[in-house]
């Protein structure tokens, strides 16, 4: 292994890692918002809210993230959507992970005992009051871990935005391979950065999980 080469280029990988973190965090936030809205929609008694939510989950879980990304970035301009690679990456990944997050959030909500809803409703509380004060605080504890798993999958999956030329970790590795012809060192270095990001993120998720569990 060419340690000297790694010593020279690691700083550029560190910069690229920040781009990976930036894309991932923004996509996770977008995914959480979409997932939350879709989860509530999919549990609604109103079919006009339920069916679009279910269709969203089916479409975005049922097609490859890469195709979704290409559709948005390369196909977008054909229908008037002009996005730069970074925007397309964040939106593409966010919409994709939102479908998975929807299922994690929905699963946590429906795992709260039905008796909790009944107890709230039979005191005269409305649907949203029960959801807000009784169900979601209990479901929150159960959704931290699956949402953490979704997010970690997204961080690693963010490598696909290299295909639309976003200057993140994987793209940087490819770029340096073409000039150094040292794929092992470059992919090894990229892997180290992914592990560091995922480890820090997992630690954060664990901390949130413990805190929410204690509160409950």
């Amino acid at each position: 292994m060419d340690i000297e080469l790694i010593g020279r280029v690691w700083i550029y990988f560190a910069e690229a890692a920040l781009v990976t973190v930036q894309i991932s965090v923004l996509a996770i936030l977008l995914g959480l918002c979409l997932g939350f809205v879709a989860a509530l929609g999919s549990l609604s008694v109103n079919a006009a809210l339920r069916w679009p939510s279910r269709a969203y989950v089916s479409v975005f879980r049922g097609t490859p993230a890469l195709i979704q990304l290409f559709l948005l970035y390369f196909g977008g301009p054909q229908v008037g959507i002009h996005l730069d690679p970074m925007e397309a990456g964040i939106i593409g990944l966010g919409i994709n992970i939102g479908a998975y997050m929807c299922e994690s959030i929905r699963g946590a909500i429906i795992s709260v005992d039905k008796g909790q809803t009944e107890a709230g409703r039979c005191m005269g509380l409305g649907h949203f009051q029960v959801m807000n004060k009784i169900i979601l605080p209990q479901a929150a504890r159960m959704m931290v871990r699956p949402l953490g798993v979704n997010s970690i999958a997204l961080i690693k999956g963010s490598a696909i935005v290299s295909t639309i030329s976003v200057l993140e970790l994987s793209y940087t590795a490819h770029r340096y391979i073409s000039s150094t012809y040292k794929p092992f060192e470059m992919f090894f270095l990229a892997s180290i950065f992914y592990i560091v990001i995922v480890t820090i993120f997992s630690y954060g998720v664990g901390k949130i999980d413990r805190r929410v569990s204690l509160e409950n």
Binding site: G115, Q116, E118, A119, C122, M123, G124, L125, H127, Q138
Partner: protein
């Protein structure tokens, strides 16, 4: 009073009932669990619903506050038709208002585990604007005192015994100052030594003339506390009457057979 003419009903011969049930039917898919129930419940009365598992007594109780909708028939509460046909939003509003006057206590307590006993009791009155927070806390403290748990206000449900949980659940249901209390097998999930403390609270409520409908398997408690007992089987009211009559001198063979089975155990 017992209705001798078939089909037997739980109708009591009094005026101005707080609950009126007429021709109530309830289907779950192809299964009919309530097959035409008529019943009146007077203010201040305690009605015990007894019968074997699957006889429809819990379902009947749950139709009163519309935790179960009905297939056919009418339920009136305090002069208002409970199961009136309304658009979704209007129905939700109607039920929310109705339910504020009907307390319910469940077999499995259904306390909110993320809230303390005090927060469980004050949640609805504060959220529904019945009282301000200070007043709700003061009222909750009185209710917890009444059920013997004034020193447990800041405990979470997981820190309480089954009997204590159920007493908090009763206090929570009383927090909205209901006109009617529904009890759905509230001691069935408790260890035998904890049943007494919950029964004592219910007896106290009975003394205060709270209108109560109690679904129970505890026939001795039913006999002890109720003004009227309704025996149900297969989705019908088989026989109804004062406890001394129904337990000591049942008229219908099904009632006799049920009591015989239970008391011989």
């Amino acid at each position: 009073m017992l209705n001798a003419a078939p089909p037997a009903t739980g109708r009591f011969d009094m005026s101005d009932p707080i609950v009126k049930i007429r021709g109530l039917k309830k289907n779950f898919g192809a299964l009919q669990v309530l097959k035409g129930i008529d019943m009146d419940i007077e203010p201040g009365h305690i009605v015990a619903l007894i019968g074997a598992s699957g006889s429809g007594k819990s379902t009947l109780l749950r139709t009163v506050n519309q935790l179960e909708d009905v297939t056919d028939g009418e339920i009136w509460f305090d002069g208002d038709l409970v199961n009136k046909k309304l658009p979704h939003r209007a129905r939700e509003k109607h039920l929310n208002l109705l339910r504020q006057n009907i307390g319910m206590v469940f077999q499995h307590f259904n306390l909110f585990p993320h809230l303390t006993a005090m927060e469980n009791v004050t949640l609805a009155p504060i959220m529904l604007g019945r009282m301000n927070k200070a007043k709700a806390i003061e009222h909750a403290q009185q209710l917890l005192d009444k059920v013997g748990l004034d020193d447990r206000a800041e405990y979470y449900p997981s820190q309480l015994s089954g009997g204590q949980k159920q007493r908090v659940a009763i206090a929570r249901s009383l927090a909205m100052k209901p006109k009617l209390m529904l009890f759905d097998e509230v001691t069935s999930a408790l260890d035998p030594e904890l049943v007494g403390e919950v029964n004592r609270v219910m007896k106290q409520l009975a003394k205060e003339h709270m209108t109560m409908v109690i679904v129970t398997h505890d026939l001795r408690f039913a006999e002890d506390v109720s003004d009227h007992v309704v025996f149900m089987a297969d989705g019908y009211v088989v026989e109804a009457g004062p406890p001394e009559q129904l337990f000591r001198n049942p008229q219908k063979p099904k009632t006799k057979s049920f009591l015989h089975q239970v008391f011989d155990e």
